[in-house]
Symmetry: C2
Subunit: 253 residues, 2 copies
């Protein structure tokens, strides 16, 4: 099972949209995906039209519930979800004092039966305790980036945080993908930022660029991933192309 955090502390860079859409595209190939909504704002949960207030990630990380109790099966074909849960907002403050506070998600996921090919954790726009929990619990990080200048400057700190987590908590952690999202094809600025990303990240930058497509912004209001909401759209096309690159990584192991 590949375990991947979708992280970027800059707001609105496409983390949630990528979680939902990539899950949908991978599930179309028969791969089984588990999504964990680790953002107290519960947008991923809403993206699948689920109730954000039932038991969820909070109960999971505090050990109050086993994974099986909080997994909502088949929120889309081949995709299961652990909702954020109402209490998750309190977690960042409550858990500050707990011994081993950064390893709570990791311990919880260790109890997971290996029924999935992919586990994605959607993070909030911060590098706080919940995001550190995600980074300590997975082997890989994908970074969705908006191809704009203010988003670019956030990357340094994120890479640094991944480094610290690797050194102190999780030696296997690696940035295995950077995804250019919400790309506006006719903009010179986007092209310049993309070039800068390529120079900086080299092979870590996925070749697939996710273009801006209104269907991706509409899908959550219907509680559906793009691959179901509008399978013929550019948004679905781009995420399928990304999924193929992600799958090709399985070979490089």
């Amino acid at each position: 099972m590949r375990t991947i955090a979708l992280a970027n502390q800059k707001g609105g860079t496409g983390k949630t949209t990528t979680a939902a859409s990539l899950a949908g595209a991978l599930a179309e190939t028969g791969r089984r995906v588990l999504l964990v909504d680790l953002d107290p704002q519960s947008h991923l949960t809403a993206h699948f039209g689920r109730n954000p207030t039932g038991p969820g990630a909070y109960e999971l990380i505090t050990g109050a519930a086993a994974p099986a109790d909080v997994i909502q099966p088949a929120v889309a074909p081949g995709v299961d979800l652990v909702a954020a849960g109402l209490q998750l907002a309190a977690a960042e403050v409550e858990l500050v004092q707990e011994v081993g506070r950064e390893l709570m998600l990791r311990r919880a996921l260790a109890r997971l039966d290996d029924n999935y090919d992919y586990l994605f954790v959607d993070c909030s726009p911060s590098l706080g305790l919940l995001t550190v929990n995600a980074l300590a619990a997975v082997r890989e990080v994908f970074i969705p980036v908006q191809a704009e200048w203010l988003a670019l400057r956030a990357l340094g700190q994120l890479v640094e945080t991944v480094e610290v987590v690797r050194e102190r908590l999780n030696p296997e952690l690696e940035i295995t993908g950077v995804i250019a999202c919400m790309y506006k094809t006719r903009r010179v600025l986007c092209a310049q930022v993309l070039e800068a990303l390529r120079e900086h990240f080299g092979r870590q930058l996925f070749k697939t660029v996710i273009r801006e497509n209104i269907r991706l912004a509409e899908a959550p209001s219907h509680g559906l991933p793009i691959t179901i909401y509008d399978p013929g759209s550019r948004g679905a096309e781009d995420y399928r192309r990304l999924a193929r690159e992600v799958i090709a990584q399985e070979q490089d192991g």
Copy 2:
């Protein structure tokens, strides 16, 4: 002096761009503006090409420095800035235990000489301790909103938080403006969300809609507000129009 927090816990809704651009547009009318960057990610500080690592908001809220020591004058004509400062990221965790932890910014700003017509506090995408400090310290909240569905659902929680701060810490606090940002004029979805905002917020929703304009995304890479970077652009036009509405509010008191 009008004191205004730019708040929205949803990421990437235009808070920082609005802080910089509205400041620039108000300063053009001769009004003096002080900006406080209360986001540890220091994007507003970067927007004016300033060093995010000098003394700044952290020293201000902990009382380690007086306002005069951390204000950087004339980052643009008529606009002064308190940078985020390197330590600000630590503040959310360090200050959790302090007595009166939500009122630290308020106490610091009370020491400010009344040299300004407008004070704007730019918040991070969260409803954590720093944002609560901002809400407890100002009389008004402007909410920049992206005209998209995932952004819309964040508003309920924000309004609730404003309510709690009003009841428990700051009885004068009021949402006096909602600003539709990054508006894509040809999109049906944007128009639908705008309609929903109008129904919900009525007069609180500014008539001016800030349209998407690449110049606004380019300006920060030059360390300039849009009104200086490209005064003839749509982005500058829209923010000037917004500034006129903001100024007209001065009459309603």
